[in-house]
Subunit: 199 residues, 4 copies
DNA sequence: GATGAATGAGATTTCATTCAT
DNA sequence: AATGAATGAAATCTCATTCAT
């Protein structure tokens, strides 16, 4: 029997994850009840436990999948063999650009990033991205693109923090976050950061 | 009989706040029970409700008081009439330096930061500091210290984010955060940021 | 396989309500804990919150349902087209007779009556019965069955109060409340009241 | 040393009782906190425990003192040697008339009468009044003023209930309770009741 | 897969009462 | 007498999770 296309496209797990993102974005993880997610997805709350072991696992999954995507992109950028400035531009464009694509997901990632169960999992997933950034800076330093008196690890963290705070400003509605603002932010942060780091 | 100084210094409210900081730093806000705070302070849990309306209010108070202190320092820096580079250095030194003075408080502030719905009020307290930074950049721009093509608001947010992420790295034990690391971070971030911003 | 009738008759909400009546009758509303009700019903206390929003709502429901039943009976009596004396007799028989049918419910109704702020909503339910009685007296007055110098509203309230106090006497064990006492009370009160009201 | 008049007139206990009546009338006994009473009386809540053993004892005291006053009046009426009709009129005038004198006290007595701790104490205090009424009816019956087929106990309870319900109507704002309404209620209830009871 | 009734651990909060001052 | 900080028992209610159907 041929697999039914309908059934192949039908993705309850994905629906639940999407619903969870919307609900978490709206009320925050702790204030969101399992029943809220199920209601948003249009199913009974018991069903969530067929796909996830717990409410925590839902958040962890959202984090993991998002960071895996970002880590993949970052790896590609790292191995692209372009100058640091271009690497930073590409990274910033993907990272900040995600605000225009999936604002609710970004809201969840930004608001819950420091939260307990997520923190632990975050450390593993995120470290890869940070190390990637750090290696890009170090390599550029070795190539003479970056001043020698600059600690690549610190630079990577500071750079990431600068970008994350801008995302936070958008999520909290404190910074203008329309299409043109996003591109402007990419250019500004990369220009300033690179000028500051440049040898 | 001499009045006992002890009684004059006695501050149950402050003791409870300190205890709460230690407990929140250890287990996170949500995992901390009111009873934990009381036990840490050596009092009955009911007493907490003489000084605070709720557990949430305890966290809010911690935030508010910390940000009021920072806002005061920032105001002083803003009105000091020194070049931007010096202003940034002073701000970074106070902000990052607090890690050495009150690491547990910093851990709480970093981990429970505004992302918590309970601390939405933070936005008001924090905005002052952000606006102060923004005004410092704008003033320096007007004086010709900073390149013209740089949005002061964005710069202020990015700069703050860079510093916060470093604090986060220390709190999570991902970045070395000894005395000398702190001073190095101040110098590095300020140097890079200022070089990047310089006209 | 035959459908099990048991499942069709199964009524957890009703069981909880019945259990609540027994517990409230035994210890009073305020001294009754939610756990007592659940235990009496043989379920976990959390289940109560599937059917009712709060402990208060349980009491309100008991009141509302009881008064809705009485209001229905009273409406029927009002529209029966019989003389006032017969109307009063029927009302008294149903009202006082309920003591023999559901003494625990009566105990709850009498002891927690409107005086409770939690049951302020009662006023709406009860008013209908009072107005019904009042209309019966007024109609009888118009027919010349009742003396003209008698305020129907006052008469309705006084009559109801007389009956309620007798119920109270039975609930508190201060008045003999066996089968024959109930019928005697109906006759006595109706005879005296009607003789007093008669034109 | 002569007793100071000021101090002799000064009556903290009485002030606290008055305050408690006002607070209980406003929010009900259970919703009233000891601190509310103290605040209403303008003292610290700890002071209440110098004059009363507990919050319950405050309510009990209010009940006892009120019922002792009523019992005294009732005794006087019983031994006045006047016809039943006049006795009932005097009782009703005192009982219903108290609504105009101390409405808040009446509100408390009416609303809390069936409540747990009060019920128990009520039984003792109230029984005297009920028995007094019952004896008046029985004596009138022996004198031939009242029909023979009427149980004096039932009559006393029913009569008391009629009056209490009118008080309740006033307290709940469901019956008009101005000066003239009170006198009218006295006349109506006594006339109807006596006509109904008359031989 | 899907449902939702049922469970029960657990946490906040209230507030009467005590008592040192 | 008077105060009010301190205590701690007690109770409601929430909600993640389970599981029979």
């Amino acid at each position: 029997m041929l697999p039914r296309l309908a059934s192949a496209t039908f993705d309850r797990r994905g629906e639940l994850l999407d619903a969870a993102v919307r609900v978490f974005a709206r009320k925050g993880f702790h204030a969101s009840r399992v029943g809220d997610i199920a209601e948003e997805a249009g199913v009974a709350h018991g069903l969530l436990y067929h796909y996830f072991r717990s409410k925590d696992e839902v958040l962890e999954t959202i984090f993991r999948e998002a960071w895996e995507r970002l880590a993949g992109e970052t790896d590609r950028i790292e191995s692209a063999g372009v100058p640091l400035r271009e690497q930073l531009r590409r990274f910033a464009r993907i990272y900040l650009g995600s605000w225009l694509v999936t604002p609710e997901l970004i809201a969840v990632l930004v608001r819950e990033i420091a939260r307990s169960p997520a923190v632990d999992s975050r450390i593993d997933e995120v470290r890869g991205v940070f190390l990637s950034l750090q290696r890009m800076v170090a390599a550029a330093q070795a190539r003479g693109e970056v001043r020698a008196d600059c600690n690549p690890q610190l630079a990577a963290w500071a750079l990431y923090g600068a970008l994350e705070e801008i995302l936070t400003g958008w999520v909290l509605g404190q910074l203008p976050g329309e299409d043109e603002d996003v591109e402007r932010a990419v250019v500004t942060v990369v220009d300033v950061a690179f000028a500051g780091l440049a040898a």
